[in-house]
Symmetry: C2
Subunit: 379 residues, 2 copies
Amino acid sequence: MKKQYLLTPGPTPVPEPVLSKAAEPLIHHRTQQFSQIFTEVSKDLKYLFQTENDVFIFASSGTGAMEAAVVNIMEKGEKAIVVRGGKFGKRWGEICKAYGIDFVPIDIEWGDAVTVEHIEKALKENPDAKAVFTTLCETSTGVTYDIKSIGEYLKDKPQILVVDAISALGAEEFYQDKWNVDVVVSGSQKGIMLPPGLGFLSVSHKVWDIIEKNNTSKYYWDLKAMKKSLEKATTPFTPAISFITQLNVSLQLIKKEGLENIFKRHRLLADATRAAVKALGLELFSKRNHSNVCTSIKMPEGIDSKQFTKKLRDEYGVTIASGQGPVQNKIIRIAHLGYMEKFDVIIGISALEIGLNQFGYKVELGKGVAAAEKILFEL
Amino acid sequence: MKKQYLLTPGPTPVPEPVLSKAAEPLIHHRTQQFSQIFTEVSKDLKYLFQTENDVFIFASSGTGAMEAAVVNIMEKGEKAIVVRGGKFGKRWGEICKAYGIDFVPIDIEWGDAVTVEHIEKALKENPDAKAVFTTLCETSTGVTYDIKSIGEYLKDKPQILVVDAISALGAEEFYQDKWNVDVVVSGSQKGIMLPPGLGFLSVSHKVWDIIEKNNTSKYYWDLKAMKKSLEKATTPFTPAISFITQLNVSLQLIKKEGLENIFKRHRLLADATRAAVKALGLELFSKRNHSNVCTSIKMPEGIDSKQFTKKLRDEYGVTIASGQGPVQNKIIRIAHLGYMEKFDVIIGISALEIGLNQFGYKVELGKGVAAAEKILFEL
């Protein structure tokens, strides 16, 4: 027997009632029964996004919804500001490049956070930029950007604020409307607690005028067609029926716990993880704005993080993430995201203590766990 | 209790072992465990497509894979021949239009089939066409096109043959390589017996040169990135993990039954359905090349097919499809597709007999069922 413990920032564990929903026979999507479910999830997604806007659902990964944001707003040759402080900011740039969009990168050192001052400077130099593309949680570095302040700054400016909240929605504090975020992208396999395969996109009324006039070639990602269908409680093409019925279950769980409690839970688990990491004498990779989605940790000199995570997974069934891009062999990332609770943190920290000792980096057994327990259980 | 019987040409019933697979906890996609499954399904898909080519898997509906075919092959202003004999042929035209492709439609009356002569004439008038886009089974009309002959005709011509086999793969006889089909698109919720949410695309070596040089803007649908990832047994973006593990199960079922037996089963169920329809004095909507995927039937004068299918679904739990587009209120479609067997045909025909009588069109009870039984059980 090898029991598995999934502690990665996507996919995340799927709650049992959501899993078992997928084992039910399919219903047809052009029926009242399905439309009712679709109407319900569409309404509940507004709660999750904290918006009055429509939330569109694509049968795609989150990247598909990112592309949908770009091709519905931007046209070839137009200018965009792109915050690149990790793999997912970089992805905004790659999508813009694929469509011939003249993008101005704000390059942030991996592990650091963008600030309002960065945005201000970029906009002063590029007042003709149409949009700012950024990220709520840069999962590749474990840093959460201060979207609230950026939204406040951009509030009365003409630029459209587009936020990739794929990993952080339903985990980090976020309020689309209150924070003046025009476009929000998300995905199913993170805080939403589903398998990967759904992409979400919410756009404000202000942006609709731009979308209506947009001429970039598209078909599957066309929001005008999506809106027409949404008004009839459906999608233009066959929806991922089983995921929508699963989403209906996970959104009930989210509503039942309540967003504020969800934010609080993630904060607590993250606080405990960070305290444990410090107690073990390790260093966080994130310089500031430490994320409540996942904790990024520098591996001690001489330990390859890919080999480290492989050993924990293969030998103990504990799956945490190594790094990506330039830090792929240098950091590990322990998630506290979605369907996770206090003892999942304990598992992650315990596995970390065991692994470090086995890789020859001696730490006092139980020291990290003790630090986490103190915070988790107010001891 | 209202037991449900799903007899539509997508979604189709999902076999129980495939359903229950979805209730298992997720595995992470950047692991050897997942790569093994991915390698296995990639190999088994070649068997299903009857090809030596790579088969790419998108987290998307079938329409997404259709768009991927267009944007990887065609560029703005280039010419394509598009066979439009139903809703899905029309969709090829819509995608081409969205990308500024100069498409020449071959308009076929709904219910009729395209012939080699149609293609020949279109190519004589448009020798500069780069590709021919058509459909294996036009599910909206219940007609299967003679792709074998079209492939034979196009064999030594420069035009690329692109076939939407979304509804017919794993149901109708089809051999990509033997029939000289360059590009094949499919989807998960038909003969492949999964929930909707995966799109498939197989392209021949001949087409790779064109794909390499293609300049149409794309990111999510970019086959060059897909190929690079496939070589490492993965996808560029998070795959729909649970669907891939389910696919692994359904492809085992397909291999176990064997493609030839699958084709035979579908033919038998279709023969029986057609015989029953005729015994009840109804007329097929398909004029020729009657599909083995679904049987399209003209409703008797005065019966609205949407009301008819609604009644069968709401009152008896039997879901068949009404028409689409111009015939949405005029025809019904009974599927014999995917995870369906002899008694599913009996259910469909029985429901048809009951419904007709209840809508005031008197037919002899049991007459259709008897005709089906005769063929199904060689009586």
